[in-house]
Amino acid sequence: MSIYSYLMLRFEVVITLIIFILLVLKLNDADKKEKSLLIGINIMLLLNFIVGLLPMAEGNLFMGFFRSNGLLVLQKNILNLGLLLISLTSYNYLLKNNNRIEFYILMLSSMLGVFAMLSSGHILVLYLGLEMSTIPIAALANFNKSMKNSSEAGIKLILSSAFSTGILLFGISLLYGAVGNLSFENIQANLQLNELTLLAFAFILGGFAFKMSIVPFHLWTADVYEGSPVAVTNYLSVISKGSVIFVFISVLYSIFSSFTDAWLYAITILSILSMTVGNLFAMRQQNLKRFFAFSSIAQVGFVLVGIAGASKIGLTSATYFVLIYLLSNIASFGVISAIFDATGKETINDYKGLYKSNPYFALILAVSLFSLAGIPPTAGFFGKMFLLTSSMGNGMYVLLAFAAINIVISLYNYLRIVKTMFIDDAVEVLPVVGRNFGMKMALAVCTIGIIIIGFVTPLFQYIDVLSIVK
């Protein structure tokens, strides 16, 4: 294999390297020097991120089982950034937890799966990547081994994900029966619209929708998010979800491009359900992690609105939105985890008067909430509006009507938290929560990103250039 091939594979190679280093460290009992270990790991992740930024390489490897192109590199970079930020925000959590190396090994394994999935050129690799990205997460969900909730989260995740895998695979098997060769090009070329393929599509859609937690395949989400450690919730809501969204777009736009009408129809229904149900449930939540679970369900509904554009704009805006969503969610979870680690509180009512006790956290959380709600000048505004624009371009009027309604409901949901932080008086004043360097950096990157991405537009143009719809 040439250097060029390694350049194409650099994400996967670097992650694997780190995993190996961590294994070696684990064997050497490096767990004891927790601080230097964590700093070291974070530096490695930073390097990983930097390596990702190296000049991109396009092409196919392994007979087309592995692809690389500009957009994929960008998506991987986005996810790498997310990984780094999540790692930084979970510094305090891991400091207290003794199994930090396992934590990273599991997370990085999942990340490897994510990269494999993104780069897949064949359904087999896609399937493997999907599984590889999910199974370690189930272990991570159960990471707080001493907590009941955590076990429950783990079992719910693993069982329902196994079930969803079954459904997905059943769909794939039908698809295989229909086309005979599961490489993407072949499927795209040979797919015909008939009962069998539609059935296969529905099953595959179910499998993906499960991973993206689209209603009605979402029910595991809230429980798993609530039970898992914040860092894992963060990872689930951002990396897992974001990566599957990326893959899902390419599956829809390329593999199933021959029956766009059918998937538009399905997506419209799912999107409406996701937005509405997600928002309606978010409305009644008290636990913040649970709240964000439903919020993320609603957000995915919005992404589907954009995907329903079925065009270059759809691809661009969805990618752009995921980036913004990633920054916003990481910032929110960063704040939640900082406060949880310091005080053990994670319900909305505990945040009363947060602005008075911890103004910076309150402001950062507010900015990220505004971004999620799509309020200018945060980038979320642009992200959301572009999704709507994309959908408008395809004439999805019913979907847009529901999106408009849901923008309002979601604003209510997010403002509820803002209100708690800024307007309500504290019943019990929270102590001033300290911020370590990692947390500061992560939150700063997120906040600055949220604010400037809407104004520094070359990034958007770059995504647009890379987004190619075949």
Partner: protein, 502 residues
Amino acid sequence: MNVLSILILIPLITALVLLMVRKELHMKLIALFGSIAQLGYSVWLTNYYINFRKAGDTAEMLFQTSLGWFKPLNIYFSTGVDGISLTMILLTAMVVVAGILVSWKIQHQVKEFFFLIVLLSLGAYGFFISTDLFMMFFFLELAVIPKYLLIGIWGSGKKEYSAMKLALMLMAGSALVFLGIAALYFASGIYGGQYTWNIHELTQINFPMSVQVPIYLLIFTGFGVFTAMFPFHTWAPDGHSSAPTAASMFLAGISMKLGGYGALRVATYLLPNAAQEWSWIFIILASIAIIYGAFATMMQKDLKYMNAYSSVSHCGFVILGIAMLTKTAFMGAVMQMVSHGIMTALFFAAIGMIYDRAHTRQANELGGMLKQMPFIGTAFIIAGLTSLGLPGFSGFVSEMTVFVGSWERTGIFYRVATILACASIVVTAVYILRSVGFAIWGTITNKEYETLKDATWNEKAAAVLLIAGIVFIGVLPFWVVNLISNDTITIFNKFISVAVAN
């Protein structure tokens, strides 16, 4: 650097500087100087604009620029002003200065308060100078959340409910607007060959009727929510009454004008065919708002509720003027926006001053305020008289222009609407005089009120500024008319050309 960008830069810099200082007095001074600088700049800009016009520049808008923003979506940062937007900018600048002055005594979270106020004004300035629909929408939305926070944090009464209601309703309105403009964007690609958000380019395109109608209804209704159009007005009474004084002034004085301006500049101007066919809906709604708002006002005891409902009624004139589609009516609508903006700001300022002292806004609990606080009482009466359309104040000229303009539209339906609108002047008189009679005149009902002090320097300055504005327009209306008439005619000519084309 474009002259218009400075309009955005001044508040932006003010806001940033505000964030850096620590002393409360400095914050107030910075906010005040920032807003005064903005007012001064707006006046200078107006003069500059007039000179350009005198020199014979007949471009539709002046000082146009266009910077790429989101180029793949053809979103540009493009600016330009005409007389209509300039008057709106002047109005905004004036209300902001007055609002900052009346908030001088604000107690807690001073920095946040002024920051939000400056941010709100930034939204308004940006909105008025935009010629790109997306940019316009950006600024429209920008102003929503500051309102929520201003009401929620510094408000009174059932502030959380009101703030939430306001934010949600305005958000719903803006969502409709966005759907409309996004549809327009794609329609421009299909029917004009060039995807664009730019107002000037969009006016060149003749959209087919089937495209225009839904977009028109969406955009007009969306902006209508901002203008408190019946039946989407209920955010206004609750919002205004819970808001702190300055926020009420902004809400009624500026925010509601965003809607009126948008309904005129976007909905009506860009979609003339649909406007001609469908504006009757909004005429009906406006007539209802005018009369029904006035009657609802009559029953209010709380002065802020009263003024809020009266704003619903008065903004009905704006909608009516826009929906009537005659050039005089357009002119009247614009004048009514300015007039109502200043008047209602003065009204809320006066009510706020009374409330700060007497700690009640119930008209029947007050009384004898004129005796105790002649300045505030007089300001209240002047605001009231403006509201009921007394000549010499701005309310009269603007309402009359709307009436005359509406009367130009022949046909029984339009006549009835106009007559209903005219009838509101009587009801307006009733509620204004009732409130003056209860709260301002009469004897002092409460012993505690006998120690109340009259306005302080900052309040006086605010009131004098606003009264000066009212009287200026009321006595020299031709100044405003000269500034805006060409532009309303431009909008009107669109209809003529459409009529000819058909």
